[in-house]
């Protein structure tokens, strides 16, 4: 069994079939990019992996364990799945530093938060993460005062602080400039190189920069799967996705 497996999962929202019998397997250490036009069910896939939405039918397995229908905090805490949301989702009135500190792995039960002491190794760990996301200089700023791109990076830093075994990134470059997007791609490659990562993306250049394997979704179904080059040549993909959505790339 692969590290992450979705078996014939479907989700319907009051009659609308958002995801239709999708099966997906991701091996440990792989970086998988899921692409597809709007409404293809990309975010719903992430929702099922992270426990936000339970599949109407089908199963989700992580590292051999059945995590179908588990609560988000259980999946994040026990099964160590990190999630970066579409459009940064932070603690707005906490400082940059505190946002990362909150996310820190292994101190998440009520009792552990009482016993927690910030020692040197924890401080070093937070500092390293803040330096990787270029925000150490702004560590005391409350996160709502950051720019959009910086907020996206801060959330990536939080995901890293969680020490997850599976990272899910939902449009990590949404709203970024081309330069920021490129930097983000490099961040993912360096910070998450030995992790299993699932990325949902729109930006084709960015997909090419980071992808190992690409899964194309269309109307809730898997349309194609393969390397970026293979998918790009696939006539079905060209027809429904690349042509419609991104004329100049196709």
């Amino acid at each position: 069994m692969a590290f992450l497996e979705l078996r014939d999962v479907s989700v319907s929202f009051s009659g609308f079939l958002a995801v239709d019998q999708v099966s997906l397997s991701v091996e440990k250490g792989e970086t998988r990019v899921v692409i597809g036009p709007n409404g293809a069910g990309k975010t719903t896939i992430i929702d099922m992996i992270t426990g936000k939405t339970a599949p109407t039918s089908g199963k989700v397995f992580l590292g051999g364990a059945d995590i179908t229908g588990c609560s988000p905090h259980e999946i994040a805490g026990k099964y160590k799945v990190g999630r970066k949301f579409q459009g940064p989702n932070l603690f707005d009135f906490l400082s940059v530093y505190e946002n990362v500190e909150v996310a820190l792995a292994g101190h998440s039960s009520v009792l552990k938060t009482f016993l927690y002491r910030k020692n040197k190794s924890i401080a070093d760990e937070i500092k390293t993460i803040l330096e990787q996301i270029n925000l150490y200089g702004k560590r005391d700023v409350i996160s709502t005062s950051l720019s959009h791109g910086e907020r996206q990076w801060l959330e990536m830093g939080m995901v890293i602080a969680q020490k997850p075994q599976l990272i899910t990134l939902d449009e990590p470059t949404a709203g970024m400039t081309a330069d920021e997007t490129y930097k983000t791609g490099e961040m993912i490659k360096t910070m998450m190189k030995d992790k299993t990562v699932i990325v949902v993306e729109h930006d084709i250049d960015f997909v090419e920069q980071i992808a190992e394997t690409v899964t194309v979704l269309h109307q809730g179904k898997v349309l194609a799967e393969g390397t970026f080059a293979e998918v790009k040549r696939n006539p079905k993909v060209v027809q429904v996705y690349l042509k419609d959505d991104d004329e100049e790339v196709a």
Binding site: E98, D140, I142
Partner: protein, 367 residues
């Protein structure tokens, strides 16, 4: 040294000043004023109990007085039953001390129960409210109706609670056979007040406090970091209820009287106003708010017998309109902004100048 001084949040200075003033107060104040100030200290503790809930976790409990009243009634019943069946019960033909009051006849146990009972009630309520994912305005409505319900209950159980008349003639604290003097009472309240303040300060500055602020800011995000927000909300609800119960108990020996007015909606609203005026989420605001309003109430009512309520209302409105984050909240915001501006300037020109992040901890994040 100067730089370090500048970085200390002003809230700490205000706290120290306030407690220094309270310690010295009996030296200058008349006994009448000292007694009033004891009540003010009780209110400060009560305000702290709401601030760790509302200010930290964003849970605006519109019925905080139910915990205050429960603590107060437990101790009041204990005092009333000390010498057998109290007069207000005898009037209803009760000839034997009921079982729950027999337990309370043991004063140390009653003092313990004065915190445990509100804690257990908070735990039960919290369990149902938080696990059923009641949020936002629905939490407010539920707590408001509960306060009104419990007020009605204490009004109706005349046989055991004295009904609308309440329980009066409660004795001061005695040590040996001598009742404590007003000043001794005052210092006892103050000692408890300082302990509660230190506890709340530790609590809000711990990781637990930081997670509470995260619950307030973005509860759903927290789940995806492996936290169970309901457990944190339940824990702080219980702690807050117990501290409110403690303040309710302290109220008994100085006021010698408790009535459903201390357990219901009106008193719950008072504490909300103190926090609105002082500011939330930094402890200092709660204390300053409780202190200012209690004193303004007394002084204004002495000076302007007829219009004092109007004057007080106008003053509160002015604060809430011009300083929506409260007096202390506004001050800390201003200090935080200056600090960040300075830090940003420093970071660009000289990387070796380090400002400590812990110094900002108190200045941030007020709703």
């Amino acid at each position: 040294m100067m730089k370090e001084m500048k970085n200390i949040g002003w809230d700490k200075y205000i706290d120290v000043l306030l407690f220094a003033f309270l310690i010295g107060f009996p030296l200058v104040g008349s006994l009448f004023r000292v007694e009033m100030m004891s009540k003010c200290i009780v209110y400060i503790i009560f305000a702290l109990s709401l601030d760790i809930l509302w200010g930290s976790a964003g849970l605006m409990n519109l019925g905080q007085a139910m915990f205050f009243g429960l603590g107060g009634y437990v101790l009041a019943l204990s005092y009333a039953a000390r010498d057998g069946v109290p007069a207000f019960m005898a009037g209803f033909g009760v000839t034997e001390v009921p079982w729950f009051m027999q337990i309370l006849q043991n004063t140390p146990l009653a003092v313990l129960l004065g915190m445990v009972v509100p804690g257990v009630v908070a735990g039960l309520l919290g369990y149902f409210i938080f696990t059923s994912k009641v949020k936002g305005v629905f939490f407010n409505i539920i707590t408001l109706s509960l306060a009104s319900l419990i007020e009605m209950f204490f009004n109706n159980q005349q046989k055991y609670t004295g009904g609308a008349n309440g329980i009066s003639g409660l004795p001061p604290i005695t040590i040996g056979s001598e009742p404590l003097s007003i000043t001794a009472h005052y210092y006892l309240m103050l000692a408890v007040g300082v302990l509660v303040y230190l506890f709340c300060r530790w609590l809000t500055h711990s990781r637990f406090g930081m997670i509470l602020r995260s619950v307030r800011d973005n509860e759903s995000r927290l789940q995806f970091l492996g936290f169970n927000p309901a457990a944190f909300k339940l824990t702080i609800f219980v702690i807050s209820g117990m501290i409110a119960g403690l303040s309710g108990m302290l109220y008994i020996p100085i006021h010698s009287f408790i009535s459903p007015g201390n357990i219901g909606v009106a008193f719950s609203t008072s504490v909300l106003v103190w926090l609105a005026v002082g500011g939330r989420g930094n402890l200092t605001g709660a204390m300053v708010g409780a202190f200012l309003i209690t004193w303004m109430e007394s002084l204004l009512s002495e000076q302007f017998e007829n219009v004092w309520l109007l004057l007080l209302g106008a003053a509160m409105l002015a604060v809430v309109m011009f300083f929506p984050k409260g007096l202390v909240g506004t001050l800390l915001d201003w200090q935080y902004n200056r600090k960040i501006d300075r830090q940003m300037g420093l970071v660009q020109t000289d990387d070796s100048v380090e400002l400590r992040e812990s110094d900002f901890a108190t200045a941030k994040g007020k709703v």
